[in-house]
Symmetry: C2
Subunit: 351 residues, 2 copies
């Protein structure tokens, strides 16, 4: 029996409701497999934890996480309690950086039963590979002068190493999918980082002659995800551009509540982290109406990542069937509670 240790961080708001409720599905999947067992280490790190302890996680927190096989996260942040830059940089972004989760992957695909805001969603299915360690999300910069003379300077830092590994990952993924890769750029307006980004992309494209590549400026690409999302396969983007494109991906799917994300560690030193795209939605907590699909879809990504693709496939089928049968939460136009959705998926997997 192989033991797999999962660090479980429910986090804030609806994360606290959804995450614990989904663990029984993981247990059942392990039973079906027969060869593995999940061990959960649950951590209460969150904005409320911060209010009590003055930190988002304890000193030895990172070491604990780093010893696990994967991190299963709910949602972080509740600006009414703690400013975002403290909660996010003290937990979510801190884990991404210190566990060297240098790549963020977010799929977007048309799901039957989820009403897309698009009149003709045309069965789109694309995947954004986002640089997750640097770029526009940088602590380099600051301010000078005050009052009417004040200036804020923000540095975006793009290294060859991070740019190249992100793109290489995307090229490899495109290889396994439809062989089509789009790079998000803005080299016509942003004249240092983005021409560099384009140059690395062109160099790598030479190494992957079988992949059909194109570069789109971020403004045009954002528009294309609305006007023709079915024309895209893999998209590779910087940290900020990936952030924007993946929320758009969630929007065209029809709900931020179903979108999943994987923060991938590439060097094998530390665990990867799996989190839904949605936030903590403190306004709907306690009502039992939170949508668990984003969390469960990210669990599917975690299973795939752990080499348990069969279980991942089983879970994903159960998710899709459940939605198609109309068992869905309010945000998807349904009337089911969070628990009803989870129980339905659970029952499907069991049977």
């Amino acid at each position: 029996m192989k033991k797999t240790t999962l660090s479980v961080i429910p986090g804030d708001g609806i994360g606290k409701e959804i995450v614990p409720a989904t663990l029984k599905i993981l247990d059942t999947l392990a039973e079906i497999d027969g060869g593995i067992q999940f061990e959960y280490n649950q951590y209460p790190w969150s904005c409320e934890y911060y209010l009590e302890h003055g930190v988002m996680m304890p000193d030895d927190g990172m070491t604990k996480l780093q010893q696990s096989d994967a991190i299963y996260l709910g949602a972080v942040g509740n600006p009414k309690l703690v400013p975002d830059h403290i909660s996010l940089w003290g937990l979510l972004i801190k884990i991404r950086r210190e566990c060297e989760q240098v790549i963020n992957i977010r799929p977007a695909q048309y799901i039957k039963g989820v009403k897309s805001p698009l009149a003709e969603p045309n069965d789109f299915n694309f995947l954004v590979v986002r640089e997750n360690s640097e770029g526009e999300y940088s602590e380099v910069g600051g301010r000078i002068h005050s009052g009417s003379d004040e200036i804020a300077i923000q540095n975006a830092v793009f290294t060859r190493n991070a740019t190249e590994r992100t793109m290489r990952y995307a090229f490899e993924l495109a290889n396994k999918r439809n062989g089509q890769l789009t790079s998000a750029t803005k080299s016509n307006g942003i004249v240092h980082s983005m021409p560099f980004w384009d140059q690395v992309f062109q160099e790598l494209a030479g190494e992957y002659p079988d992949i059909k590549t194109q570069s789109n400026h971020i403004d045009a690409l954002a528009a294309f995800l609305v006007s023709k999302p079915d024309q895209f396969d893999v998209i590779v983007a910087s940290n900020l551009f990936g952030d924007i494109l993946t929320d758009l991906g969630a929007a065209v799917m029809g709900s931020i509540g179903i979108a999943p994300a994987a923060n991938i560690n590439l060097n094998g030193k530390y665990p990867s982290m799996f989190e839904p795209v949605h936030g903590s939605a403190p306004d709907i907590i306690g009502q039992g109406i939170a949508n668990p699909i984003g969390q469960l879809w990210t669990a599917k990504m975690m299973l795939d990542h752990l080499g348990l693709e069969e279980l991942g496939g089983l879970l994903f089928r159960a998710i899709k069937e459940t939605i198609a049968e109309g068992i869905k939460t309010k945000d998807l136009g349904g009337t089911s509670t969070m628990n009803e959705v989870i129980n339905h998926i659970h029952a499907k997997i069991k049977s």
Copy 2:
């Protein structure tokens, strides 16, 4: 008879076809007014001009432009002939900067007869006020090292002055519209420039207690323009975020071919510039199918800006009626040529 001097720059690609063809509409509007006359100074500055002269505009070009009352531009750029950073920074962005067009305004509204990709566009009508002089579009930055050690650093520069004047403009506009203003931020990920942006916004919000304000992170806001565009009135954004949001605005309208933009000079020293959002589309040149609506809508913005709101209103009604009657180009699902659309609008204005 008041003479108004317009600098006319058709630019590249379809700009060359559309711009000259629309001037007769301006002439007819002037005739209707009776009190004004447009004088056109046409300049051939473009990528082809660059290939011949090695510059996008001659040395005395800017002075000529600066002496006119407004600049009426088609489209700039043709990467097959000249790299974008040369053509755009040598003409479009150069004019924006040297004519101190510090604000860019782009409306997006549901137009009857233009098929929105949204299933329920709900008559949205919002307007993006974009900072147009600094921010993420900055020449500050560079590279160090080479090969696998190479690093590109891009500085985004936010001054109090530019940030405040952009926001103030947006607050004033919101005052004249529905009194609702949304600020595009990303202070949870971008920790120097965006918290500064938020701070200035909050300070100004205190000065405009009647305006209902909110801040949305750019990722969420991009998604909202797809899921609920009718919930927005005025949006204020940095140079990059404004760029992305306005292409999204064009996308939800249903075509980049109809979206207009105004680059506004605030200090009265230099002219403002009016340009459609679409590019030069060199692939469709010569076919007569280019959509003139973006150009004509920007002409309406120019008329409004010149204090000729009645003529602007007349033109806009003619545009909307023409589209509603089904006289539209291929990109809008119609079968009319560019000239047929222009002639139809022209005839409507005349009658």
